[in-house]
Each structure stands twice: as C-alpha cells, then as structure tokens.
Symmetry: C2
Subunit: 634 residues, 2 copies
C-alpha cells in the first residue's frame, strides 16, 4: 500500500490565494428582463430616454394655465371654458388658451398651452347640454364650463418629462446585483434584455466504487453507500451563484476516471472532485494534472480538509475535495464557495455571526485550523449556548444538525465551558431551533415534534439525554424505562409504550417470551445500553434470573446476540425483516408498522423532562401543550 | 366623470387579516432531490435505513480483534497474520480469527470477527514474498504478517451501522426549508424525490391603454409609457417564493379586461392587478367580483396604497394594487408578499433593520400610516443618516434609489432632523452605498463611478448638489460652472468639459454661436437652472448682452425656448435628434456620441467637493484615487 504523503501543509490563506489565482470567471449572458432578478450586471446601463417621455398629468382633473386660477377659492371659483379632453394613451388634439381648460386623466399628456392641472375634487362641472348626456349620447364638452375652486402654481400636479429618469443619466452601474426594484427601473427605461455575468459552471465528479446514486438500491453487504457529496455540493454551487453539472460516477477504474475528469475540464470553469483522496484516485489526478495542467497545492492545514488539492486541469480550475461529506462541505464552504461567488460577481453574503458561550469544554490541541460545526441553543436567560456537532469523521449528516461553524485557531488546547466564541452561521437565514431535545427515539415523540416550529431533536438515547440535561445543554430530555439516577428536572408529561420482541410475521419460531430466547437457538438483536428499551430488557433479564435462581450473566450469555446493541429503535426490526435475526428488541408500534410479529414484554413510560431554567422558552411551552393534548387528564 | 369614493378606510391590520383570510395555498409537488434546495417539506421524512448500513472502517489500515493489540506499542509491536483484504464496495470474503488481521480500506465493510481497526500509519507490513510483488504480479497477502505498533479498544476507528442516522429516526420535520446540508442528509438516506409545498401561482394583470411592454417602441407623443409593474411585481412574487404568471395587457377595454381577469382567476391561486384604480377598471373589477366572488375590502389607511382592493375572484384570491409603480411595490411588499411567503411555507425573512437618524426634517401630518422609502448614508462618525426618497407620486424609479422603508405612524406631524428611526431594509442583503453623491450629471463622472464599489449618485444638478452638501447629507457634491455661493467643502479633484450648442448633423441651419439663436428663427432647448450648463449659458448671455449694450432679458426673450429647461444633460440633444428643436444646450462629448453637430461656447470645470467630515470614508477615498488617475498632475 503505497501512499502519497502530505509534506508542508499549506496555510488556509495560501489555499485561498491558490484558488483565487485560478480564473473561474465565465463570459457574458444576455438575459431577458424577466430572468434578470439576482443576476449581476456586467456593464453600466444609462437611460436612453426621458421617463416620463412627456409632461404628464399626475391626477384626474383639468389641465389649464395656472395664471387663470390665481385668486380662485371655494368662495370665488374661476370659471373656465372646457375645450376638450385627453385620456391616458392618447395624443392631445387641443391646446389650452387663456380662460380655457381641458379635461385630463391621470397619466395623460399635458396639452400644449397648459402649465398646471387641478384635481377633479377641487372643481365643479357645469354642463350646458345635460339633456344630450342623459339621452345616452357621448357627452360633448363643447360649451361646458368648469369652476376651479382653488389656485395652483405653474407645474402643480404635473410630472415633467425626465423628472423620474432623464436621458443620459447613469441608471445602474456595473456589478449591480439586480433586485425587483432595479427591474422596475429597467422596465421604465424599456430595457428588455440585460448583459449579466455568466454563472461559473462547476463540474462535480464523485469517485468511488462504493457510491450509489440516491433512488437506486444500495447493497450494504458489499459496503455500498449513497453518494452524498454530488447533490450536496451541487446545491452548494447553486447557493454560491454557480451552475452545477453532475458527471456520472467515475468508479475507481483509472481510465474511466481520467475520461470523466477530462470531459468535465473541457466543459466547465471549475472541476470539483470528491473522494479523490483514495490512493488510486490521487494517482490518476496527479497524472492528469501533470500531463495537462499544474498542481498548485496539495494538503492544507485545516481540520477537516487536510487532503485538499488545488490546480489546473487543461483550461479549467480544479479543486479536489475530501471524500467524507462533512469534510467536503466544510472545505467547499470555506475555500471554494467564496471563489464561485466572486466569479459570479456576488458580494460575500452578509456574514451572519452569533456570539455565544461554549456549553461544555472542548479539547483540541492540533496544529491545524479547526472548522468546528456547532449547534446553537438559547439558555434560560436568552444567551446562546454553542455545542460541537460531530458524529465522527465518516458522518454524512452532522451538518443537517448544525447551525454554523466556529473556527478554532491552531495550537488551541481547550475551549473552556462558558468561553465566548463567534459562530459564523451557515447562512443569514439560519434560525436556531426553538427547542433542543436529546434522548430516546420514539414514534409518538416524532409526531409531537411535527407540530412544533423548528424543533431539533438528537435521538441519542435515554442515558445520553439525561447526561446532557445534567450538563445543562438541552431544553428537554426524553427518557424511557428505568433510570439509574435522577437529575434536577421538571416532568412536562409523557406517555406509555408497549415493548417486547419483534419476530417474523406469524412468529414461525414460536418465540413466546424471553425464556425462549435463553432456551432456544435464536438469533437476537439488541439495542445499545443508551436505550431505554435496553434498560427495561435488563430489568426483565434480572427478573428472569431471579425466577430461575441463576446469575444474571448466565441468562445474558445464553441469548445469542444480547451484547450486540444497535443504535436505532427500528434497526433490530429491520434485521428481522431481512432475515438476519429471529427476534429483535423493539416497540409494538414498530411491529404494527413493519407488519412483524410481536411478543409483548411490558409497557414502559416515556417521560419528557425539562431543564427548569427553560420553562419559559416558547418551544418548551409548545411541547407542553402538545403533551397535554395526548394526556389531557394528567 | 363619476368616481367611487373610499369611505371608512380599513386599517393596515384589517387589510392584513383580509388577505390572510384568503387561501393562497397550493398543493404538493414531488420534486427530484436536485431541485429541492430552498423548497419546503410538507411531511416528516424518517430514515428508512441505517447510515452507514454496515460497520465501516474509518481509515485505511488493518481490521483485527482489539484484544490482540492489548499491550502493543512502538517498542513492542504485536505481530498478526494477514489473512486477506477488503476494499470499499466489496463484500468481505474472509473472517478475522485470533491473531489475524485483514487489510482494509477506508469505507470498507468490517469483516466478521474484527471489532476494531488500526490505521496503516501505526503498522509495518512484513512481506514474505516480496519477489512476486516486484515482478508485477498482484501481491498475495498469504503468508505476510503485519506489525501493529499501538493498542486499540473494541470499536476504535470503526463507524458502526446506524451511527450516523439510524433506521426509524426522524430525519427532517414538516416545514423544513431544504438547505444544501439537508440535501446531504436526504442523499445519505437514498431519497431522490421529496414532497414539497407547491409554490403559490400568482397571476399579474396590468391594465391601461398607455402601457407598452419593455423592448417595444413607446410613443411618448401619445402618452405611452413602459409597463413597470408587470416585471417588477413578477420579480417580487419570485422573491417571496411564488410562481409568477404574466398576462397580456388588458388595455382599458372592459370586455377584454374581464376576460383576462377571469382567465387569471381560473389558473392562479392569487390574481394581482395594477392600474386598477382608474374608474373604468374599478367598474369592471367591482362587477366581476360581485358576480363571481366577494369584495372584502376597498381602501386602506396607508400612504401610498389607499386604493387597494381585496377580495375573491371565482376560486382565486384577488388583490388590486395601485397603478403607480412605487405605490404598487410598497403595497405588494407590505401586504401581499407576506401572504405569498406564508402560503409558500417560507419563514418571514429575518427582518433586517437598521437604526438611523433623520438627515433632515420631514413633514407629514396625515391620518394614514406612511410607508416612506428611504436611502441611507453613513456620516463621518459611522452613524446612519436616513433621508426620504420621493420623486413624486408618479415616479417609477424611486425604489431603485432606496434601501428600505420607515413606517411613520398616522397623526405624526413631523419627523425632526436627528430623530431616531428604524429602517426595515428591502432585504437582508441590502448594502447601503459606500458613497453618496449629489449634483451635476456628467459622462466622465459616470465612468469614474463605474470603478467604485456600490456608489449611489443622485443627478439632481449642481445647485441641488451644493444645497444638499450644505445640509450635510451627501459625501460629495459634483458642481459644474459658476456657483453663486460657497459651502464648507474640500475639493477632491475635477476635470474640464467643453459645452455649447448641439445642432443637427452638418449644422444645416448654420448656427455659429449664441448670436444666431438671438437673431435667427431657431427652436432652442435649454436645461433647467439646476444645471451647471445653464449657469455657464447664463454667463454667456450676460456677456452677449454687454457686448450688444442691451438688457439681458432682451437676449433671453429673443431665443425661442430659452425658458423651457429640461432636466437631463442629453435631453436637449435628443430633441434635436428627433427634429423637435434646432439647437440644444449640451456637451461636446454628447454631440460626438449621438453624432450631432456641435458649436462650442467654452469649457467649464466640473469639481468634486467632499463633505469635510467624510474624507475618511472608503468610498470617498476610492473616488479621490479615481480623480487622481484622470488628473494626475494636480
């Protein structure tokens, strides 16, 4: 197993510079106005016409000479002769002379001779031929007069040509990111197509024989997993203003990988590969870059993200991302997204940051900059607590449970509990959850959470839930079955659930209770000791041992698989479904839902315990109401 | 002219309630994962499988039994027999017994019997058949041993099945707005299609015979103008998470208007009309609503926006917006966009607000809530000054020069200069300009501004520029020609420009100077007195009057059109181009660009004057550098 070693890790600043030195910029697109929102103008647009293009009546009323109204008021109106009318969208066919007025509608062209207008509310029409009008014929204005009950100055109630935008005026500058308001301005200028910066095209190549696209079948026994990076990075590229192009999986076959990389390099401004840190992928990439490009950098002093590659592949920029999804996204966000945004002409997003205190001590002590994904929760005083979200280096999903990132400087040994940190949110519209819960996984709980605004629940099991509550992190812990020690908490409510053994449909093995597992030759699947189900099973084992007058250990050793605990409440059931086990620990509700047989071993209470300091949080109150609704009489 | 009067204006809260009472909500779309970003989940998604689906090696190295490494270290490694290898994407074909190890790659399935793994860096391979390997044949592991130079605990460097996400776990709740991180989670679960809320469809109907779509020719003499509302509202609908449908112009013909309204109502969840406040449009809408719907509200106590209509048209919700673009957008933003967002399931955007001080006194004194568009500028101390942006009720473009809105409570008589106000920004990513300038319009200036980051320039003319600078609003004023009084300002730089008479190509009227305009029978077009060009022309008129020994007024009266001043520096030229005038006041540069004849009357200096308090603003420094580059020797 030969491996390329990383010597002389580049600093994060060097990595940024290397990526910046690659040109990702595309050309110019001409887009219709209707598609221009959010795009970035490449050139200044000047007004080519006056807006409005004519002197325009601002209201419905009468156009006239201001001088003719001087001195007029309610008591002593000025009488003017009506000589015609102008509507919006018509060319005036009359002029206004001394002592004359023209009826005019909002937005119509001011007739020649008129220099002001009076709104209809301040006038009285005196009709000479009211009979004609009553008979249904079109009213003729000839001979009518209008009484003007106010005086106006020249220009009153008239919008002069060019008053809004004047020909030759600078309308929008280069680099403007077009808003709906700018679209209003462009519309007014009659511009229906705008020159905008092309979105940089970003090719995404995932390598790895074990990757399967979502929607297809995954063969876990062969170690297949769903490809997380392709769609995630693609969404990140769109978010940053780029245009993503997904390439088919390259697998680990070298010729195929090279072919896909070259195709992507030919088509795109930037090629991103992930999973390119396996030895064979690195070999191919090194070779292609050496033959047809330039390697600028291999290895950066950040965690996660050390094995990043930066270079050029033919005419395209190239960045190799780590294969692990969390690492890939953190590197993408920190180094690649800013470069895409810059190429797209978009400003750095208003870095939404939040100050908070570390909820607990966090050890570090490495020479690399750490990009630490964190979750946020408001404590009883409304202050923000910050906790690391980390399910281990292979985890794919941690980021969905995180709100932002704390950068921990190289050489930091500890972040102390209570220490102030700055969290840069994943985006300005990230809303920290209204409720943070930790504890037992349960279908009733899932339904309750559906009714809450933006809750976050970490189904870590009853024991970790209690431990975290004791440490003061979550708002609530959800605990099932017997617990070894109490914490200072207030019970908000709870429910009963039936638990037992999930067996094959129809129970062909005739497993009737725990004793059959001890005495028979059945494959059993257990839950981890974190689970409240496991606590109840432990109590049942102790009872059975007492009944039989044997040691507890003897019972346990006779159950094949007792020590193998799975994390999730449905996983044992799914092992039974897949015929990888004959019985699994689980819930009656799960048996019903998955149409399995069920051997009840009892009921256990699930309790929702609130941190006493957090009772006033709206999310906690919402949950309490929801609990009330399922156990109204408590 | 019969008019519907508004009695009993509804309060803004009543208007919100009326719109909320209409159901805009669409159904459910099933979208591919690649298109799910930003959409809103309608149902909870639970994990249907464990992620990873198997116990997985976290690193490249050797899978083994932890017990066999106990006590091993660099000095005293444990020797294990190599019995096979497993790569990612392969099903293991060996098991690990006591004293045995299996080579394993990152992400591969842990073989049966192994409960931990050791990374390759902490091992030394001892090959028994190195000759075979050198000869190029595939290396066989048989007979090799591996020295393990560290001890590990069971579970070390292994990610257990379900450790990331466990089957049955609640993955994403209903109402989740899908982020790239959520797409990562969905990918990991193999989900390739997600049920999301349909975007509410919003039909947009603009009425008015005078409206022309951008890109077509506009006949100003007939009072035609470009339709601003259609594309602007459409962009606002998209911004709010809706799907816009633009209907062809209805004109003012009643049958046609009714047909378009009914078509839109049949197709859309919400119909918006604008320009529906003209008497004939209101008649049609009233009639259609009475026949086929319900009128909930007519008239709201806000300014702008009084003539808003809310009701139902057949099965669709209906809101009638004012015709004036600024009014239409303010009403849309305040009342309609929140309803669209709610129907789309999107959260209210983090209301980005800014506290600032009023730059000057603003009179109000009406009984309606005022939605006042404002611009922002940082003063010398970094505090935010707020000034109203208002070009009059017919203006189409004010909003492109505004950053947000101040709500002024009904009954407020004044906002005092220096009074604190809260500005709600148009969107959280609004960036107030880095430089605010007011003054003369000039092509050189336009080019200089192109090189600055996000400047804002109000080309109001030299006189208003000086006045505003005196009042302390802008960072710089740009002033051309002679000025009547000085302000306390620092000149950053400037340039010379040639000015004179723009005449028809080839100068067929043989206009050689100002004297010819006085003596001949030519139609002249002037600029307003706000313009620095007009000041220089005034000086030239005075000189000519002195030369001829006549009164200044005599000269002025002999030039046909002298008193008609246009606002923009190109507008007179465009009148000459359109043969509506024989000569216009303008710049040599404009004559060149529009290929007109030019009679020079002199040069004038354009000066950029900075507010002394603002010299340290980055935008001012940028402008000073740009000025330096065009007049390096000054």
């Amino acid at each position: 197993m030969e491996r390329k070693e990383f010597r002389d890790l580049a600093s994060p600043a060097e990595a940024r510079d290397a990526i910046r030195s690659l040109s990702l910029e595309g050309g110019i697109d001409r887009v219709p106005l209707a598609e221009a929102r959010g795009r970035v103008l490449v050139a200044r647009l000047d007004a080519e016409l006056d807006v409005p293009g004519f002197d325009r009546a601002s209201l419905d009323g009468y156009a006239l000479r201001a001088r003719d109204t001087f001195g007029a008021d309610e008591a002593d109106p000025a009488d003017l002769e009506l000589v015609g009318e102008v509507h919006a969208g018509e060319e005036p066919d009359v002029a206004v002379g001394e002592g004359e007025a023209v009826e005019i509608s909002t937005g119509a062209v001011m007739p020649a001779g008129a220099d002001a207008m009076v709104p209809v509310e301040r006038t009285t029409r005196v009709e000479q031929r009211s009979t004609e009008q009553a008979s249904g014929e079109t009213a003729s204005t000839a001979g009518d007069t209008v009484q003007i009950r106010t005086s106006v100055a020249p220009g009153d109630n008239v919008m002069f040509a060019g008053a809004d935008v004047a020909a030759g005026e600078r309308a929008l500058g280069p680099g403007t990111r077009i808003t709906p308001r700018d679209i209003g301005l462009l519309s007014a200028l009659g511009i229906d197509e705008v020159p905008v910066r092309s979105k940089p095209t970003v090719g995404i190549v995932s390598t790895g024989d074990e990757l399967v696209r979502p929607g297809e079948d995954v063969a876990s026994e062969r170690g297949e997993i769903y490809d997380v990076n392709s769609y995630t990075i693609a969404a990140g590229v769109e978010d940053a203003g780029g245009e993503d192009v997904l390439y088919p999986h390259a697998g680990d076959e070298q010729d195929e990988m090279e072919r896909v990389l070259r195709e992507a390099a030919a088509d795109c401004d930037l090629v991103l590969s992930s999973g390119s840190t396996s030895a064979s992928a690195v070999d191919v990439i090194y070779r292609v870059i050496e033959e047809q490009g330039e390697l600028l950098l291999h290895g950066v002093g950040v965690k996660p993200g050390k094995p990043m590659l930066v270079g050029r592949l033919e005419d395209s920029a190239y960045v190799g991302l780590p294969g692990y999804p969390v690492s890939a996204m953190m590197v993408f966000r920190t180094f690649v997204a800013p470069a895409i945004r810059e190429a797209a002409g978009l400003p750095e997003p208003e870095t939404a940051t939040v100050e908070g205190r570390m909820a607990g001590q966090e050890r570090y002590g490495e020479g690399r900059l750490r990009l630490m994904p964190v979750g946020l929760v408001a404590d009883g005083d409304g202050e923000t607590l910050v906790y690391p979200v980390d399910k281990g280096s292979g985890a794919t999903t941690s980021l969905a449970e995180a709100d932002g990132v704390v950068e921990v400087a190289p050489g930091t040994d500890y972040l102390e509990a209570g220490e102030s940190v700055t969290v840069s949110l994943f985006s300005p519209d990230v809303r920290p959850p209204t409720l943070l819960g930790v504890g037992e996984d349960d279908p009733t709980l899932s339904r309750l959470l559906d009714g809450l605004d933006n809750p976050r629940y970490l189904s870590a099991g009853s024991r970790p839930g209690l431990r975290r509550l004791r440490e003061g992190l979550p708002d609530v812990a959800v605990v099932a079955g017997p617990t070894d020690r109490d914490v200072d908490a207030e019970e908000l409510g709870g429910w009963e659930r039936e638990w037992g053994l999930l067996v094959k449909p129809g129970n062909p093995d005739r497993i009737e209770g725990l004793g059959d597992l001890v005495d028979g030759d059945h494959r059993f699947v257990n839950r981890t000791t974190d689970s409240g189900l496991r606590s109840s099973l432990g109590a049942a084992v102790a009872d059975l041992a007492a009944d039989r007058g044997v040691e507890r250990r003897e019972i346990v050793d006779s159950i094949s698989g007792f020590d193998l605990g799975l994390r999730a409440h449905e996983s044992p059931a799914r092992k039974v479904l897949a015929d990888e086990a004959d019985a699994g620990l689980g819930l009656g509700e799960t048996a019903d839902r998955l149409e399995l047989g069920f051997v009840s071993l009892g009921t256990q209470r699930v309790r929702v315990l609130a941190n006493p300091d957090r009772r006033s949080k709206p999310g906690v109150a919402q949950l309490e109401d929801a609990l009330e609704s399922i156990e109204p009489d408590r």
